[in-house]
Structures are given as C-alpha cells and as structure tokens.
C-alpha cells in the first residue's frame, strides 16, 4: 500500500512538473477570425477600445515595428500621434491624415525612417477594423472624432473575413499589395521598395519563391532599388493572409517570370 501511494505521488509530481513547465513558457492563443458585430453606432471611446485590440493583434502587426511610449524597432513611436495628426498636413484633418497613413503609408514618411510599412492593411483588416484603428490612434493625445455606423461595419465584415481577395495570380499579386513595393511589368507594378521580380523565375526555384513569401527575411535579396534588401522590409503575415491555394498560384506565377 505504501509503495502504491509512493508511486501515485511520484506520477502526480511528474505530471504537475510537466504542466508547470508548460505554463511557464510563453502563452500564445490563436484566435479564430473575428467577426466585427456591431449593433448600433459605436461611441468614439468604444471604437478606440476596439482599435486598441486591433493594434495589439498579430494580424495587424503594428507592434512589430512601431512603439507606443517608446521607440519602435523600425518605425516611429506613436504616442501623441492623435494630437499631432491634425497639424501634419494643412489640408487634412487628423482623421483623414491617420486614415491615409494607414492605407497609403508612403504618402507621409516621418523624417529619419524609410517607407517599409505594408500597404495591405485595408485588404487584410477591412474598413471597420481600419476605422477602429484610426480611432485608437486619434485617441493617443487627441480627441476621438471618428464614428462608425452599424451598416458600414456590417458591410465591411464579410470583406475582412474573406482575407485577400483574388483567384488569378495577377489579382492576388495586386490585392495582396505586392504591387506597392515590387516591379513586375506583366501586372503593371512599378514599386521601388523591394526587388524587381521581372526575372525572379530565373533566379529562384519555386520552393525558394515560396519561402521568400512566407519567410521574407530568411534569404535577403541583394537587388532592392536602393541596394541590398533590408531585413524586416517585407511583411511576414502572408502565410496567414493568403490561402494555401492563393499562395501556390502566386508561386507558380512568379516562377514563370523570366524562367528559361
């Protein structure tokens, strides 16, 4: 009996130790795609709270570069942006300035930084989350004037849930925002941030292209317009935002560009 108790105690101890170790290492939860259900118009504060969730989410990826109350790794500190936004461009209100900065980040690049921000937020987040994000940023030192009607939120819900739209390679390439940074004449892209992809099929195998999309910092290209490409330039979220079929379509399409 004593031995059986000892054995039982030993087993429980081992199990508790393993579970304890598992609880000590970083805890990550993978959320299901959120449906933004809004009944009635949200107040500015409610919208800003929603925007804070978007800001902190891995899907938006803001914190990968920006800081809030401290310098970011590759992009400006956003503390106080709500107060300053209205004064940046004379013709734009704070809300308009912030919205345009999110949709077309290269329009207003803060001095001392490069334009490395992906131009895909509207596609990946949808209008409702984007508006919530604007509200959150406006709330950083400023008054939140942004509003979102229930109808507008509902209209953008389906769009955001669908991920990056597109069936053909050209559609996917455009909708995923690749055109903003890369040059590829066959789809009319003339981006000047990332490498020219006109001959990518001659340089890389399909597997390497796939890995370059999923892990862009793994093998950095040497032919960005301003010199060797920098780590962190290309977003790393395409593994999540592209469906498997879209990814493969894109890989096959790029492998054909300049292939011998």
């Amino acid at each position: 009996m004593a031995n059986s108790l000892k054995v039982s105690g030993f087993i429980v101890l081992v199990v508790v130790l393993i579970a304890g170790f598992a609880s000590l290492i970083p805890q990550l939860e993978s959320p299901a795609p959120e449906e933004l259900v809004i009944s009635g118009e949200l107040s500015g504060a409610e919208l800003a709270a929603l925007g804070e969730e978007v800001f902190n989410s891995a899907g938006a990826g803001c914190l990968a570069c920006h800081g809030l109350g401290k310098p970011g790794l590759r992009a400006p500190d956003l503390a106080g942006i709500g107060a300053a936004a209205g004064d940046r461009v004379a013709s734009l209100s704070a809300e308009q300035y912030l919205r345009q900065s999110l949709i077309e980040p290269c329009s207003f690049v803060v001095s001392g930084y490069d334009c490395i921000m992906p131009q895909t937020l509207q596609q990946t987040l949808g209008d409702a989350k984007l508006t919530a994000l604007v509200a959150f940023l406006q709330g950083q030192g400023g008054e939140v004037t942004v509003r979102l009607s229930a109808e507008a939120a509902q209209a953008s819900t389906d769009e955001a849930g669908a991920g990056i739209a597109g069936v053909t390679a050209a559609e996917i390439f455009t909708n995923a925002g690749c055109v903003a940074c890369h040059t590829l004449p066959t789809v009319g892209a003339a981006g000047q941030v990332g490498p020219d992809l006109s001959e990518v099929g001659a340089r890389l195998t399909p597997d390497e292209i796939r890995r370059s999309i999923l892990f862009p910092d793994e093998q950095l290209a040497a032919n960005c317009p301003t010199g060797p490409c920098l780590a962190g330039l290309m977003p790393k979220a395409f593994g999540e935002s592209l469906s498997a079929l879209q990814l493969e379509t894109l890989v096959v399409f790029l492998a054909e560009q300049g292939a011998p």
Binding site: I18, A19, I25, P33, D207
Partner: protein, 654 residues
C-alpha cells in the same frame, strides 16, 4: 491460468452497444434530408470541446495500449517459441490478460466519444458521415473482429500449447494485430481527412464546398500514411513503456526474491521494446512534418513557426526525459551484471552527448516573440543560440542521441560477456546473414547518392553527397570484413564512427548551402544512422553468440530508483502522446475540416499551451488511474507465484 469471463462479456456488450450507437447516430433524424441539425450543442461546466478532448484522448491512450500490447505479446510469444523459454510465453500471456480487461474500458470510452461527437457536433459529424459512411459501418465490424480474435487468442492458449498448435496460436495473434492495426488505420482516415482534405495533390472539395473526391481518395489523403506509420511505431514504443510501468509497480510491491527477479526482467524487456520503438520515431515525425508542409505551407508555418512554436520546446523536454530515462535505466541495469563495471567510466561521455543533444534540440529558432523580446535579442533570432535552432543542428542532435542510445544498449548487451569467439566458429548461417545485412545496409546508405548521381556531379554539394555516402558504404564493408577477420568490435566502432561523421558533416555543411539543398541532407544523416544500426546489431548478435559469460545477471538486484525511471518513462510517453494529440488538432486552428468547414463555435480559438497542458495532465492522470485499476483487476485472479524461471520448456513451432 484462465481469467474470469466477465471482462470479456462486458467488452462484447460494450462493443455491441458501440456499434448500435454508431448506427443509431448515423441514422439520427439530424441526418435526414431537409432537417438541419443545430451546429453545436453545449456540454455543461467544462464545455463541449474539453469534454470531447478528454474523452477522445483517454480513448486514444487506451486504444494505443490495446494495439501496442498485443504487438508486444506476439513478439514475446514468438521469442519464447524460438528460444523455448517458458518465461516469455508467460509474459505474453500475462499481458494478454490485461488487454482483455482493458478492452471493455476502451470500448466504453469509444462509445462515449461517439455519443459526444454525434450529439455535440452534429453538423461536423454529418459532413464526415457524408464522406466516410461505409467506413463508419466497417469500423464496428472490425471492432468485433478484433474482440473475437482477442478471445480466440486468449482462450486457445492452453489448447494450442503443442508443437504444431503453437504455430496456429501465433497466427491468431498475428490476425489480432492485423485487425487492430486496420481498425486504427480506418479511424486515422477520419482524423487525417479533417487535417488534409487533399489526395495526390488534388483538393477533395470544390470552391462551393462540395465533396468531389472518392471514398478512397478521402481515406488516402495527404497525411494518412505518415500518421499511420507514426502511430504504429509510437504504439510499439508505448506498449513497451506500459509494460515497463506494470513491471515497475509489481517489482516495488514484490514480496519475494523470485517475484522481484521476474518483474525486473519484465521491466528490462519493456524498456528494450520502448527503445526499439523510440529510435525510428523521430524519423517518422519528420516524414509527417514534411507531408504537412507539402499539403499546406501555411499549415506548416503555423505548426513550426506560428503560435505552436513553443510546443516543440515542451516536446523536446519530454523527449529528453524519455531518452535520458531509457539510457539511465540501462546504465543502472549494468550494475546487476557481473562485468558491467567495465563500462561505468564511459557513461559520463554518453551522458555528455545526450545532454548536449537535448540542449540543441530544445533551442528555439524563430519562436513567436513580443516586440520587447525582439528588441532585447536584437532580431527575430537570438544572435548566438538562433544558429542552434535550425533543422541542421536539430537533425544532427537527434541522430547523435540515437547513436548514443544504441551505444548504451551495446554496452548493456556485452556487459556480462567476455571476449567473442572467433567468427569462423559461428557457422555458415552467420556469414550469409551478415553478408545479406551488409548488402541491405550499403544499399540504404547509397540509395540517395545514386539518385543524385543520375543528375551529374557538377556541383560541389552533389560531389560531397555522393562521395560521403560512398565512403560510408566502404566503411560498412570494411567493418564487416574486420568481423570476418575476428576484429568485429573494431569493425563496429568504425561503422558507428562513420555514421557519426556523416551526421556531423552534413549538420555543419548545412549552414553553407541553400535551404533547398540543406533539407535533403537529413536523408543522408538518417540513412547513415539506420545502416549503421542494422549492420552493427547484426555483427553484435554473431560476435557475442556463445561468448564466455562473466557471470549471471542478478535479476531483481536493481535499485528501486530504476523502477521509478521506468515509471517516469511511461508517464513521459503518455504525456507526449497527449501533447501530440493537441498539436495534431491545433494545426487545423479554426477549421473542423481544413479550409472547408469552419469552426464557428465559441471554442473556435486554439487555446494556450498552458491550458492544453492542464487538459493533457487530466487525461494522463485519468489514463494512468485506469491502468492502475486494470493492473489491479488483472491480478485479482492470480493465485500462484509468477512463472518466471520455471524450468519447463515450450514446445517449438514447426
């Protein structure tokens, strides 16, 4: 030594109930056309997901016991017939009795799982039944077949214990295992289809979500075979670990020297089988991982670099526990063998290699980190340790750990033996077998190089791959030639050293080539190790056949801590099985059927590792509690002392 009939009757009744339940569930009005069932139903307190999770995981653990232990029993019975030692036959019988008791418990959990799935997730099960209905009817029939084969195997033991009858009894055991394995393959098809609804590169659903494939395509989906292979091997290892657990508990409660000797020996056999299963398991795991990537890069990224990335650190820790336990048990075990002290000084080196291997394996490469953590380490990867986190380092570590474990086993085997006899005295069979094994090993090591050779040797990496494989093949031949010239031990070390050299070379060279080439290096490492294990084992068998003994093995004279090591091994295996169950399901994320049927329930999110660990721990404790109950029940009918070391010999099969 017949067990009472009641567990068998109960298993039959529960099995019948399971079949009826499955048929009733499929025939439920919810599946009738025109009436849509609710998407989900709630389970009180713990929620539907956790309820299904716990029942499914405990059922899987019991099923692994039900499949792994008959494999163990059949092998042990066969060894008994070949060696004509009664103790092997008794060991096989002792465990078959436990399977009989476990069958009913397994069936109860299977029935409960069916009930929960069809009531809590009716639409999901309806979608699966649309595709798999014929196999859902086949499944209970196979279950009956397994139970009947099990009855036959158990109740015919005495009647077929004759010279000719033993052959038939082994055949029944084989049929039992074949039916059990088929049963698992059928259930694996349902599971893997939900992960990878694609066959031969062809998606099995169209854009509108309609199933466009055939039943066979659904069964033979992208991850079916990798999971089948992984589970068969894992069940062998798990069966061995549970045998070790049983032996350890019985040893600690033994009241006589004879009992202790019997259960000590049983524990050794269990550990041996567990190690045999453990060695190829990482290779099977890599195969599964490769197929997951092949099916969906996105799923692969989620698995290895996404929110599950920290899971592999926990897995590495558990595998470290298992490897170290298995080795430590062998090292302690050498203490009861006269002559074992000769190898004591070398243990520290083996421990050092294993520890280094564990540290490398547990090094993360690109775990998900916060912006603050990223700023602290200066990038996505740690500047120093990140180098050890890549697959080149991990493959090298695991292959060296496997070689080290094998060396521990070699030391254990030869601990009680003196210098080998001249190889010429082993007869013609030894020579023929060794040459056949050598041919297989050389072909294994050269196969990938021949594939490369076909496309020429223009690149340096091609030349090196072919050259090194050729060199390893040559050293295999030299090792066997040395054995023929009575220098077998030297031959073994040359072969093992060559394998370690190949592993290290490709591990380091992997850092200097592109990723697409580097991925292929693991094949050379694995095949160099496998060819070395096969050839060295064959040499060892003949080398020490008939070698003078330095003394007897003092079975039973082993410290109690060795038994706790066996218990640790079993707990580690069971927990790891639960963890892999979580990983397998979590890679689907918010999909019931990946990218076909979305999970829209409140449980659509994938929980944290800490939460999963708590659920897995509950499953492990429930399973081990049930095992304790089964062990206790199985021994209620045992009246006489263990049959270990009984002198009478078994009849040999024709």
């Amino acid at each position: 030594m017949q067990a009472s009939l009641w567990p068998s009757r109960r298993a039959f009744l529960v099995g019948t109930s399971l079949a009826l339940l499955l048929i009733l569930a499929i025939a439920h009005p919810a599946f009738a056309q025109g009436e849509a069932p609710p998407s989900y139903r709630d389970f009180p307190v713990i929620g539907s997901r956790v309820a299904v999770w716990i029942v499914a995981q405990v059922h899987l653990m019991l099923a692994a016991f039900m499949l792994g232990v008959p494999m163990f029993a059949l092998v042990v019975e066969y060894v008994g017939v070949r060696s004509r030692e009664r103790r092997y036959d008794d060991l096989a019988r002792e465990f078959t009795k436990l399977i009989l008791v476990a069958a009913s418990t397994t069936a109860v959990f299977g029935a409960l799982l069916t009930f929960l799935l069809f009531t809590l997730y009716p639409q999901v099960m309806s979608r699966l039944a649309d595709v798999f209905l014929p196999t859902m009817v086949l499944y209970p029939l196979l279950f009956f077949g397994e139970v009947f084969a099990l009855y036959l195997y158990w109740y015919s033991w005495d009647r077929l214990n004759t010279r000719s009858g033993k052959r038939w009894h082994l055949l029944i055991g084989l049929v039992l295992n074949l039916i059990g394995t088929t049963l698992m393959f059928v259930a694996n098809a349902w599971l893997t289809f939900s992960i990878s609804p694609e066959s031969g590169g062809q998606p099995l659903y169209d854009q509108a979500g309609a199933f466009t494939g055939t039943l066979w395509q659904a069964i033979n989906n992208a991850t079916w075979w990798p999971i089948n292979i992984h589970r068969v091997i894992a069940n062998i290892a798990f069966g061995g670990a549970v045998v070790g657990l049983y032996a350890a508990i019985r040893f600690l409660n033994s009241r006589s020297e004879q009992e202790r000797a019997h259960y000590d020996w049983m524990g050794y056999v269990g550990n041996f089988i567990a190690v045999i299963g453990l060695i190829p398991l990482p290779f099977a795991g890599y195969y599964l991982g490769r197929e997951v990537y092949g099916f969906s890069q996105q799923m692969g990224v989620t698995m290895m670099g996404g929110f599950l990335s920290w899971l592999w650190i926990l897995q590495a820790m558990l595998i470290a526990v298992i490897f170290l336990s298995a080795n430590y048990y062998l090292w302690i075990g050498m203490g009861r063998i006269q002559g074992g002290e000769r190898y004591r000084g070398r243990i520290k080196w083996l421990l050092a290699i294993l520890t280094l291997g564990v540290l490398v394996w547990a090094t993360p490469h690109n775990p998900v980190v916060t912006a603050e953590e990223q700023a602290l380490i200066g990038g996505a990867f740690h500047p120093l340790l990140g180098v050890l986190g890549v697959m080149s380092a991990k493959n090298t570590a695991v292959n060296l750990m496997i070689l080290t474990t094998f060396v521990s086993f070699l030391f254990y085997r030869r601990a009680g033996k003196g210098e080998p006899l001249p190889f010429g005295s082993q007869g013609r069979t030894a020579k023929i077998v060794l040459i056949v094994v050598l041919v297989i090993a050389v072909l294994l090591s050269l196969a990938p190089a021949l594939y490369v050779l076909r496309d020429g040797l223009a690149e340096t990496s091609r030349l090196l791959r072919v050259g090194l494989s050729g060199l390893h093949g040559l050293l295999l031949i030299i090792g066997v030639i040395l054995t023929f010239r009575d220098r077998g031990k030297l031959g073994q070390w040359i072969i093992l050293g060559s394998a370690a050299g190949v592993v290290l070379f490709f591990g380091i060279y992997g850092y200097f080539v592109e990723a697409t080439i580097r991925i292929g290096f693991s094949v050379y490492q694995v095949l160099a190790v496998l060819s070395a294990l096969i050839s060295t084992t064959a040499i060892d068998v003949f080398l020490f056949q008939g070698a003078p003994s330095l003394g007897t093995i003092a079975w039973g004279k082993i410290p109690a801590r060795a038994q706790y090591v066996l218990i640790l091994l079993a707990v580690g295996f069971t927990w790891l099985m639960g963890l892999m169950g979580y990983a397998r399901n979590a890679i689907r994320q918010h999909w019931h059927i990946y990218e076909v049927l979305q999970d829209t329930s409140a449980d659509a999110f994938s929980p944290t590792l800490g939460f999963a660990a708590r659920v897995i721990s509950v499953c492990v404790l429930v399973f081990l509690g049930l095992m304790g109950f089964i062990f206790w029940l199985g021994n209620l009918s045992e009246k006489k002392a263990p049959a270990a070391l009984r002198p009478e010999a078994l009849p040999a099969a024709d």
